[in-house]
Point group: C2
Chain length 347, copies 2
């Protein structure tokens, strides 16, 4: 059968224009030839304004994240794969199995359709590799100069297996072990290295990756992990400080135990940034009872996403809720989170 | 207890800056003092990166929409209330009861905190009035000139009651009645009238409203409504053409039966626009078996959101899938959807 459109979209030279967001024929064609084709699943192919699917009784989680990363393509990923991994990970941090994703695109007039296609196909691949379908979506277009190429918001739903107690930010207790699943700062350095005006030599790639399979293994051996959190924006320092706030506890970390690649350390020295403030997109922090730490670590080491996992500290009793760190130089310092200094649009 | 922040956010003169999206303290404060305060529910107050809630076994629907309406404030609503109503309506169009919403904000550096607060409070009120909670969210900030004040993506989940057969775009059958729930074009005219350079005299307000209670009544009396759809972007013409495409049918409408306010007709004549192309944000189209039409209409008339409901045509057998319309002048014309001509950023 011939295409129902007069002529196919031009993914070579074509550009996004205002009609692609107007609800008319041009938008329907973009949805058909790009989104429905790439994401390829029966729920989306129905072309309703919502997806319908069966769920069993139980605990559901829902999470949403906007992605505005700049540049759109970076070593180790792009805004499309990031938008899939990031939201899958926020579902997984509740101990849940991701079920479905929704994707909303805000496109800037004039953006090349070829680049949009690469992003959408990367997104589709990331979703397929993770075994999660993008079942519903939306596309809007704003005038040139009112956006920045592509913004993507993904929303995920998932189900918490019955045996999982339910990790949550307020459940850290004095004596608990603090574990990180691998090297810190890779995503942040990969983004910064690809920014204009910040060019420096590095082979570091973003760690952007889905963590739901690692988490599934972890909650299988330790159903009562107290806290799971992925240290994205604001890095390890912001995430640990948030947990300290939510749980009303302090922390004592051992700087030497925190895995950081040599190249990341070098880049951070060059830029005058602490790697603990840098975003990660394929790492998690787990807080669990000390007696479960060895078992959990062993399971993590057996998974490719947790090979470099390490216990980096313990939860302490502290009315000030300070995150303290034993430095490599032997002193102690308070690890504060960023106040004014921002690393904008890292995700 | 004193605030845990050094000083409170300045909702008088303050502006969004890049630190509000950096994952650090400034962002945490914005989330605390604005979003958590306004949306006010225990799931959001937990401050996890996802919300967890119990669901019964059954059919779930999920839908997402980005809102980029310009201007942000318009007669009868603003981007905040619209982002709640629009997504509730997409959940409801599956015959489902909305359960929860997620909200993702993309803010432009320099946007006044006062205006952001008004938008967020309007959103909170719309959600409260509709009995639906905003349980999880995200905030990103882009540099001045890379966004346009505020973009909001809301995602909704809902549950389809067991007795509802399941309306879907491909279920229209020849002989079915086509019903519209009220006057057409109000939202589109309200937006256009508030745009710079398009000032004209009108007292028309946006029809932006949640339709889930109307739908709940409708599926109670007619559990097998074949299609439900809200004619937003692209208006009645795009929505009816989509249904014709999905179901492989034609339609014959009676122009005189389509409810349009006199002021909307007048404004459309002034602007040279067909009201059937204009967006609606508080109206629905229902397609049902002819024998159920009178019963459905009676139920709709009893609800304030369906007071002006009318049968506007019938589904026909047509391999060309044309939507035809008997005009007020006695002739017949094909109602095509918009191709090139766009009414950008209407929602």
């Amino acid at each position: 059968m011939a295409s129902k459109w007069n002529r196919r979209l031009d993914f070579g030279e074509g550009r996004v224009d205002m009609t692609h967001g107007s609800g008319g024929k041009a938008m329907a064609q973009l949805v058909d030839e790009l989104f429905v084709a790439a994401f390829d699943n029966p729920l989306l192919a129905k072309r309703n304004d919502q997806a319908m699917f069966d769920v069993p009784a139980g605990r559901m989680v829902m999470t949403t994240d906007g992605y505005v990363v700049s540049p759109l393509f970076f070593p180790g990923g792009d805004i499309g794969s990031l938008a899939v991994h990031g939201t899958i990970n926020d579902v997984a941090m509740a101990g849940a199995r991701p079920l479905h994703l929704a994707a909303s695109f805000i496109l800037e007039e004039g953006f090349p359709l070829e680049a949009l296609k690469r992003i959408v196909e990367s997104m589709a691949k990331a979703a397929r590799d993770a075994g999660v379908a993008i079942v519903t979506g939306d596309t809007k277009v704003v005038e040139k100069g009112k956006g920045d190429g592509v913004f993507i918001t993904t929303t995920g739903v998932g189900l918490v297996p019955p045996w999982v107690v339910g990790p949550s930010g307020e459940r850290a207790r004095p004596g608990d072990a603090v574990i990180v699943s691998g090297t810190i700062g890779d995503h942040g350095v990969a983004i910064l290295s690809s920014r204009e005006g910040l060019a420096f030599e590095t082979s570091i790639e973003s760690d952007s990756a889905p963590l739901h399979e690692l988490v599934a293994r972890m909650v299988e051996v330790v159903p009562d992990i107290h806290v799971l959190r992925d240290p994205t924006r604001g890095g390890l320092s912001a995430t640990l400080n948030e947990i300290a706030q939510q749980s009303g506890v302090g922390m004592l970390l051992d700087e030497r135990a925190i895995p950081v690649r040599g190249e990341v350390t070098a880049a951070c020295e060059l830029l005058g940034i602490d790697p603990l403030h840098l975003a990660n997109e394929g790492k998690l922090i787990a807080v669990c009872a000390a007696r479960n730490a060895a078992k959990l670590l062993e399971t993590m080491h057996a998974d490719p996403r947790g090979r470099d996992a390490a216990v980096i500290g313990t939860i302490t009793e502290d009315p000030h809720r300070f995150v303290q760190i034993d430095t490599v130089f032997g002193g102690k310092r308070i690890l504060d989170w960023l106040v004014g200094e921002a690393l904008p649009r890292i995700c």
